[in-house]
Symmetry: C2
DNA sequence: TCAATCAATAGCCAGCAGGTTATCGATCAC
DNA sequence: GTGATCGATAACCTGCTGGCTATTGATTGA
């Protein structure tokens, strides 16, 4: 049972997939065809990536006739932001501890 | 030629490897033995992970006798932070554009 | 109605990534 | 000096992942 960080990191680790997500962030909603045309891979490959991005909550889809429009769900990135701040936080804490230690040694 | 984001995402995507990095962030410098004992995988596997983390600039090593101490290099996370802010930034920009459009339509 | 288009699915294949055991070099303890 | 310990490396195996082509289902337009 992978946690939220696992899913996000794994999903964004693939360059092709991340490029698709970046494009959706930059340019907003796009059809599968539009995304495929600039992805360098086949349409089924793009559909697979979009499926994984959707599972990760990073995009949502909207059906309109025979086209499917995808758009980025930016909120899904929060666990990533939380994780990095947490790591930074641990580091700060340890730094403070070191400071304290040095202060005590100084007395 | 993978860019900095590629390397970071790929390196942090593996749960075992990320757990090692998290532990180094939480608890500071650790020997390979200490890291192995709580990783659930063999010592060579841990060494391999540490090698990749080092290549990504996420950890540094310090040799002391026959032990090797590893510690987290928090600065290496900045490209990740930059990337997320950039994605958020794109989103904001598009939101502003939408706002402008609505404003112009209103006139 | 029938052909064409769009996107998803199925089925397959190749490469790689992460795991293992075995071994080696270096350092330490006795 | 010798045996034990630590960590890196070698060599290998396996499963998963990302790619492909072919096909299907749905929708559109002629």
């Amino acid at each position: 049972m992978p946690n939220a960080h696992d899913v996000l990191f794994r999903t964004l680790a693939d360059p092709t997939r991340r490029a698709i997500f970046e494009r959706l962030c930059r340019e907003g909603e796009q059809t599968v065809g539009a995304l495929t045309s600039q992805s360098g891979v086949s349409q089924p490959a793009v559909s697979k990536h979009l499926g994984l991005l959707r599972q990760a909550g990073l995009v949502r889809d909207r059906h309109e006739g025979r086209q499917t429009h995808y758009s980025a769900q930016l909120g899904a990135l929060s666990p990533l932001i939380d994780w990095t701040s947490q790591m930074a936080g641990f580091w700060e804490t340890r730094f403070d501890e070191l400071e304290d230690l040095l202060k005590r040694m100084d007395q």
